[in-house]
C-alpha cells in the first residue's frame, strides 16, 4: 500500500496503513511488548546516559570549560593525566567542554521535538479527520514545508538575526520546530485517514459522540506509536540541526555546545593539523545521541510492523529457543516470528 502514492510525496514504511492495520485493537488486555526488544533497551539506556550528562554534566566537569590552564601554550595538547581528553588551542579542557556542552544540545532538541510534535498532531490529525478542502489546504502546506530544504532556510533566518540575537535557546528550538513538523504531520494524516473510516469510529459517530471526543479517545490512542516515532524523529532532527547551526557559529556563541566545540575546532583547522582529540569527542557524542534515538525509532517501527524484526530471526537464537525445525535459510513468503519461552 505504500506503493502507488501519486499525489502524496512518498511512503515511508511507517506511513503504511496496511502494516499498521494490525495495530492495537481498541480495548484492553494487550501487554506492552516494547521494552523487550534489544534495540529499545540499548537505545533507552544510551539516551538515559545522555540525559544524565545533560543534567549533571556541567556540575561534574573538572574545570571551567572556558578557562585556559596556561596562557603560554598555543598548541593543543593530546590526552594526558591532567586533561583526559586533551586541550584546545587556548588550553581549555576538552572533557569539561564536552560535559558542559550536552545540556543545550539536548534541551533544544527535546523542546524542538515537543513543539514540532504538537504542531504535527494539530495539523496532521485535523487534516486527516476533517478531509475535504481543509485537508487539501493543510496537506499542501505540509508538503511545501517538506520539500523546502530546511538548513538553507535556517541559515538565511539566522543570518539575518543580528549577532547578539540567536542565543535564546527556547527561541532557537521553536524556529527549528517550525521547519521540522511536516514529516510527522504527513504520517499522522495518512494514518488518521485510514482510521476515521473504521467501524468502531463510525459507530462512535453514529452514537452521536462529538468530533473532539472521537479524535481524543478513539483515534489518538491508536496513533500513539506513530506520534512517538515522529517525536523521536524530530528530536533527532533537532539534534542534527542545532549542532549544524552552532557548528556554523550562527547561534549561541555564548555558551558551550557540542556543535560550538566543533566550530572552534574547525576555525583552528584541527582536522588539518591532526588534533583528533578536539573534534572526535563532541562529534562522537552527537552521533551516539543520534544513534540512540534512531535505535528507539527502529524499535517502534518493528513494533508497528513485526515483519521488520531481525532479532527473532537469527538462527542461533532460534535454536536456543528450541525451534530446530526451522529451514536453513528463510525464504520467501514465510516470516517466522519466534518468541522466547514459546516452545
Amino acid at each position: 500500500m505504500a506503493i502507488g502514492i501519486s499525489e502524496d510525496l512518498g511512503g515511508s514504511p511507517a506511513a503504511d496503513p496496511g502494516a499498521v492495520a494490525a495495530l492495537t485493537p481498541p480495548g484492553r488486555g494487550r501487554r506492552l511488548r516494547l521494552p523487550r526488544s534489544p534495540k529499545i533497551l540499548v537505545g533507552l539506556g544510551m539516551l538515559a546516559f545522555f540525559v544524565l550528562i545533560a543534567v549533571i554534566g556541567p556540575a561534574i566537569a573538572p574545570d571551567n570549560p572556558a578557562a585556559s590552564s596556561s596562557v603560554t601554550g598555543s598548541v593543543p595538547l593530546g590526552p594526558s593525566a591532567a586533561h583526559w581528553l586533551g586541550t584546545t588551542q587556548l588550553q581549555q579542557d576538552v572533557l569539561s567542554q564536552l560535559l558542559a556542552g550536552g545540556r543545550s544540545t539536548i534541551l533544544v532538541a527535546f523542546v524542538a521535538g515537543f513543539a514540532a510534535t504538537i504542531l504535527s498532531i494539530l495539523i496532521g490529525v485535523t487534516a486527516g479527520y476533517v478531509a475535504g478542502r481543509t485537508d487539501d489546504l493543510l496537506s499542501m502546506l505540509t508538503n511545501i514545508f517538506l520539500v523546502m530544504p530546511a538548513l538553507p532556510l535556517l541559515i538565511v533566518i539566522f543570518g539575518f538575526l543580528p549577532s547578539s540575537g540567536g542565543s535564546d535557546d527556547p527561541l532557537i528550538a521553536v524556529i527549528i520546530a517550525i521547519t521540522g513538523w511536516a514529516w510527522g504531520a504527513r504520517v499522522l494524516r495518512v494514518q488518521t485517514l485510514s482510521l476515521r473510516n473504521r467501524d468502531y469510529v463510525e459507530s462512535a459517530r453514529l452514537i452521536g459522540e462529538r468530533g473532539w471526543r472521537i479524535i481524543g479517545f478513539e483515534i489518538m490512542p491508536n496513533l500513539i506509536p506513530i506520534i512517538a516515532s515522529s517525536f523521536l524523529f524530530t528530536v533527532l532532527y533537532g539534534v542534527g540541526t542545532y549542532t549544524a547551526l552552532t557548528f556554523l557559529g550562527l547561534v549561541n556563541p555564548n555558551h558551550w555546545s557540542w556543535g560550538g566545540m566543533l566550530f572552534y575546532a574547525q576555525v583552528s583547522n584541527a582536522e588539518l593539523s591532526g588534533y583528533w582529540w578536539w573534534f572526535v569527542p563532541p562529534g562522537l557524542a552527537v552521533a551516539l545521541l543520534g544513534t540512540s534515538l534512531a535505535l528507539l525509532n527502529f524499535g517502534i517501527d518493528e513494533f508497528i510492523n513485526p515483519r521488520l524484526r531481525v532479532a527473532g530471526l537469527s538462527r542461533r537464537q532460534a535454536r536456543q529457543d528450541g525451534a530446530q525445525a526451522l529451514p536453513r535459510r528463510f525464504v520467501l513468503g514465510l516470516t517466522p516470528v519466534i518468541r522466547k519461552g514459546q516452545r
Binding site: 506503493i3 511512503g11 520539500v147 523546502m148 538548513l151 541559515i155 538575526l161 556543535g259 562529534g283 544513534t291
Partner: protein
C-alpha cells in the same frame, strides 16, 4: 498527464512560497540590513538612489512604498533574473557569483547522490534477501553513520585520508597553482579533490536508502507473486529482480524527503572542505553579512531541490503504470 501536471502545479506553488519566504525574512527579523549593507559598501559612492533601492529591497522603515508594492517589486526583480549585488564579491551581480559556484555543487551533490542511491538500494536488497545472516549487523553501523553529522564525517575523512595518510587533498576543488588549461591533468586534479567530499556524502546518506529499501523489500518478499516466482523454479536472481523492482517504488517516491537532507548536509560538507560550491558561498555570505547573496542562494538551492523532485516524479511515473492510468 494528469499526475505530472498536478506535481508541476505543486512545485510552482512551492517556488512561489519560497520567493515569498525570501521576501519576508528580512522584514520579520530584528536588525537593519540596509545599514549593514551600506557599511560594507564603503569605498564605493553611495547615492541616494542606492539607499532607496536597498530600502525597497529589505523593507526598511522610511520606504514610501507599501508592503504590497515592495512585494510586487521583489517579484519583478526576481523574474528579471536580478538577485541584487554581492557586497562580499566586489559588487558583482549575485547571479554571476552563483553561476560560478553552481556547477561545483551540482557536480558534487549530483554524482554523490546518484552513487549513494544506487549503492544503498543494492545493499538494501542484499540485506533483506539475506535476512538473519551476518549482514543484519550492517544496520546498526549504518544507523551510526546516518546519525553522525555530515561535517563530523568530513572531519574524520580529512584527518584520516588527507592529514594522516595523505591519499587525497583535504580542501578546495582543484589546485589553484596548477590551473592552466582545461586538460586531462586539470580534470584528474578536480576528481582527486572531489573524492573525499563525495565519499562523505555517500557514507552519510546511503544509510537511509539501505534501511528504506530493506524494510520495503522484506514486506514485498512476502507477496504471493514472489512466492509463485520461486515456486515456478525461476532462478534466484530473477526472483530478486521481480521483488526489487516493486520494492524500489517507495524509495523513489521518498526521494523528495531525502534530497532536502542530502542538500543540507552537502552544504556543510562543502564548508568543511572549502569546496567552492553554493554551501561554501552561502556561509561566506553569512559571515560577511552579504544579505542579497544569501537570499539568492536560498532561492537557487530551493529551485534546484524542486527540479530534482520533479525528475524523481518523472521516474516514478515511468516506473509505475498505475500512476499513468489514474489520469
Amino acid at each position: 498527464m494528469h499526475a505530472i501536471a498536478r506535481r508541476i502545479g505543486f512545485y510552482i506553488l512551492t517556488a512561489i512560497a519560497a520567493v515569498t519566504v525570501d521576501f519576508f525574512i528580512p522584514r520579520v527579523m530584528p536588525g537593519n540590513p540596509v545599514d549593514a549593507v551600506l557599511a560594507k559598501m564603503q569605498g564605493t559612492v553611495v547615492t541616494q538612489a542606492t539607499r532607496r533601492a536597498l530600502e525597497l529591497q529589505f523593507g526598511a522603515a522610511g520606504t514610501p512604498v507599501g508592503l504590497w508594492g515592495q512585494y510586487v517589486h521583489f517579484w519583478s526583480t526576481v523574474l528579471h533574473g536580478n538577485l541584487g549585488i554581492s557586497t562580499s564579491n566586489g559588487m558583482e551581480p549575485v547571479t554571476t557569483v552563483i553561476r560560478g559556484a553552481l556547477p561545483w555543487t551540482l557536480g558534487l551533490v549530483g554524482v554523490a547522490t546518484l552513487i549513494s542511491f544506487v549503492l544503498g538500494t543494492l545493499l538494501g536488497v542484499l540485506v533483506a534477501w539475506r535476512r538473519g545472516s551476518w549482514l543484519d549487523n550492517l544496520l546498526p553501523a549504518t544507523t551510526f553513520f546516518q546519525a553522525a553529522p555530515y561535517f563530523f564525517l568530513a572531519f574524520l575523512a580529512i584527518d584520516l585520508f588527507a592529514t594522516k595518510l595523505g591519499w587525497f587533498p583535504g580542501s578546495r576543488a582543484y589546485n589553484q597553482l596548477d590551473f592552466a588549461a582545461f586538460n586531462w591533468s586539470y580534470i584528474s586534479d578536480v576528481l582527486d579533490h572531489a573524492v573525499l567530499p563525495a565519499l562523505t556524502i555517500v557514507v552519510a546518506s546511503a544509510a537511509g536508502w539501505i534501511v528504506g529499501m530493506r524494510n520495503v523489500m522484506i514486506t514485498t518478499m512476502d507477496e504471493d507473486y514472489v512466492l509463485i516466482a520461486q515456486a515456478k523454479g525461476l532462478p534466484k536472481r530473477r526472483v530478486i529482480w521481480y521483488a526489487a523492482r516493486n520494492a524500489i517504488l517507495p524509495s523513489v517516491s521518498s526521494f523528495s524527503l531525502a534530497i532536502g537532507f542530502v542538500v543540507s548536509g552537502a552544504l556543510l560538507t562543502e564548508y568543511v572542505f572549502s569546496y567552492p560550491g553554493l554551501g561554501f558561498l552561502m556561509l561566506t555570505a553569512v559571515q560577511e553579512s552579504d544579505f542579497q547573496l544569501l537570499q539568492g542562494i536560498f532561492l537557487i538551492v530551493t529551485l534546484a531541490v524542486l527540479a530534482a523532485n520533479l525528475a524523481a516524479d518523472f521516474v516514478y511515473v515511468f516506473l509505475d503504470p498505475r500512476v499513468r492510468q489514474e489520469a
